[in-house]
């Protein structure tokens, strides 16, 4: 199988990678860039655990796209949220509101949540529902996740969330 040289910027770091035709973006993130935070779930677009953000900060599924399609593009994975050893406000919100159980889907859910905040800094209930429709948490459910997302901006501004 033919191999191709691809330049991909992941979390601000640029990688020159040798990629084969049949690798998806998910395969490359996990096996070539070696960032294991992005998870492999259904690989058919139903569960959303492979969610990453594209250069525009939108949620996309890395399992449903050829890696070669992303030559020269920039992406953000869950590892890219932490800055200078400090977690992102959304990650803090997930911890504060207990929006985690087994944790397998959490990277995908948080990247979907980030995409919601990127488009709507203080999202409405409908915007949160629409943004989370493509992810599927099988254990903790979506209630605490929604609470965490609703409080993301409060954590960002005040350093803590509120219960409502």
């Amino acid at each position: 199988m033919a191999k191709h040289l691809v330049t991909l910027t992941v979390n601000g770091d640029t990688y020159d990678l040798v990629v084969s035709d049949n690798q998806t973006l998910l395969d490359v993130i996990r096996d070539e860039v070696n960032l294991k935070g992005t998870k492999r779930g259904c690989t058919t677009g139903s569960c959303g655990v492979c969610c990453i953000n594209n250069a525009k900060g939108e949620a996309v599924l890395s399992c449903l796209t050829h890696a070669l399609e992303w030559d020269g593009e920039e992406i953000t994975t869950i590892e890219g949220l932490e800055a200078d050893g400090e977690l992102d406000a959304m990650q803090k919100a997930f911890i504060e509101y207990g929006a985690v159980q087994c944790g397998f889907c959490t990277p995908g859910v948080i990247m979907s949540a980030k995409a919601i905040i990127n488009a709507h800094p203080e999202p409405t209930k409908e915007q949160i529902n629409a943004g989370l429709a493509g992810v599927n948490c099988r254990c903790t459910g979506h209630i605490k996740v929604k609470e965490a997302i609703r409080n993301d901006h409060r954590i960002r501004e005040l350093g803590r969330g509120t219960r409502d």
Binding site: M1, A2, D21, N22, Q23, T24, D27, R40, T43, T44, G45, S46, G48, C51, N54, E58, A59, V60, L61, C63, L64, T65, H66, L68, E69, S112, A115, N129, A130, G131, A133, G134, V135
Partner: protein, 325 residues
């Protein structure tokens, strides 16, 4: 789990893409967003030797207004970008509703309009992995002369499950189809065929390049019923559009989607409300006629008897909403 072996070609121009498609013939599969093609490759329903990407083709990314007031949309435009576009979702409310109805935000951020129009047909048998399917005999889509949906059938009854086609048919859209050295315009109402395997009039090496929607009145509606809003394929969908004021209408088209192998344009129900106006009686009478126009109803989710009932409910709701507009 890697994708099955195949080579991947990212065409630099539309000409190069069409040339590659002619040269590779049936071994090739056109890919844009990837959400349906890679999905079907994972299920081993698609086993292309070559995947030809049209995602970045500039020729297919424009949304422009033509001199006659029509809007021409490139087939590689992402669904998410069209929702709020002033010339697309912003101008045609039913089109907007149908775009918003497609799968999830994640899928809409990747999937394209051309991909939704050319979405592979589905049924409860083919929408499962190859290991799952091994438990039963193959079908017309795989390797046997059998349809699991309607056992006695001589053809595939997989459903056309995409959301934008009913809306585009109601709006009177036209598709531009291109292959190397040839270009033709086909009304989207004549694009689909009543066969789940060979479900469109696309010829070998031919792709949908543009969708042109004529200027129409704002009296239009799209409704989709799903098990879970925001992700699932449709149990049934309806799109309708009319001209005129209040109950008196001068022109109407009603289209049902996701029930059979192709979207269904309902002629007799439309005739009833055209003659009698959108009165309660006429809407009831029109809905009563829906059952006769459906033919054999196939299934993905839900039994066919349920889907027939849904068709009636959808038509009633659509006509009632049109009356209120």
């Amino acid at each position: 789990m890697l994708l099955p072996d195949h080579s991947y070609v990212k065409a630099e121009s539309l000409e190069e893409c069409l040339k590659t498609l002619r040269e590779t013939g049936e071994k090739a599969k056109v890919i844009a967003g990837g959400t349906d093609v890679i999905f079907n490759m994972r299920l081993k329903l698609f086993q292309p030797e070559v995947a030809v990407s049209i995602r970045g083709l500039k020729d297919l990314l424009q949304v422009e207004e033509l001199d006659d007031g029509s809007v021409r949309i490139g087939a590689a435009c992402r669904l998410a970008d069209l929702i709020d576009h002033p010339l697309a979702g912003g101008r045609y409310p039913a089109f907007r509703q149908s775009l918003e109805a497609v799968a999830s935000t994640h899928i809409r951020n990747m999937g394209t309009l051309g991909g939704n129009i050319c979405l592979e047909t589905r049924c409860w048998y083919t929408n499962n992995s190859d290991q799952w399917r091994e438990g039963l005999q193959g079908c017309y889509k795989t390797d046997s002369e059998l349809c699991h949906v309607i056992k006695s059938s001589t053809k595939c009854h997989a459903i056309n499950n995409s959301d934008t086609p009913p809306a585009l048919i109601a709006l009177g859209a036209t598709l531009t189809l291109q292959k190397e050295g040839a270009k033709r315009e086909v009304p989207i109402a004549e694009f689909y065929r009543a066969d789940g395997v060979d479900f469109s009039v696309l010829g070998p090496g031919e792709i949908v390049t543009h969708v042109t929607i004529p200027p129409v009145s704002d009296r239009q509606v799209f409704i989709k019923i799903t098990p879970r809003k925001g992700m699932d394929f449709s149990l049934g969908a309806v799109a309708a559009r009319c001209d005129g004021e209040g109950e008196q209408i001068s022109n109407i088209i009603i289209v049902l989607g996701s029930l059979v192998t192709a979207p269904v344009v309902l002629d007799k129900p439309a005739q009833v409300v055209l003659e009698a106006g959108l009165t309660d009686d006429a809407i009831e009478k029109a809905a009563d006629l829906v059952r006769d126009e459906l033919g054999e109803v196939s299934n993905l989710y839900g039994r066919s008897i349920y889907k027939r009932q849904i068709a009636i409910v959808l038509v009633k709701r659509a006509l009632t909403q049109l009356r209120e507009q």
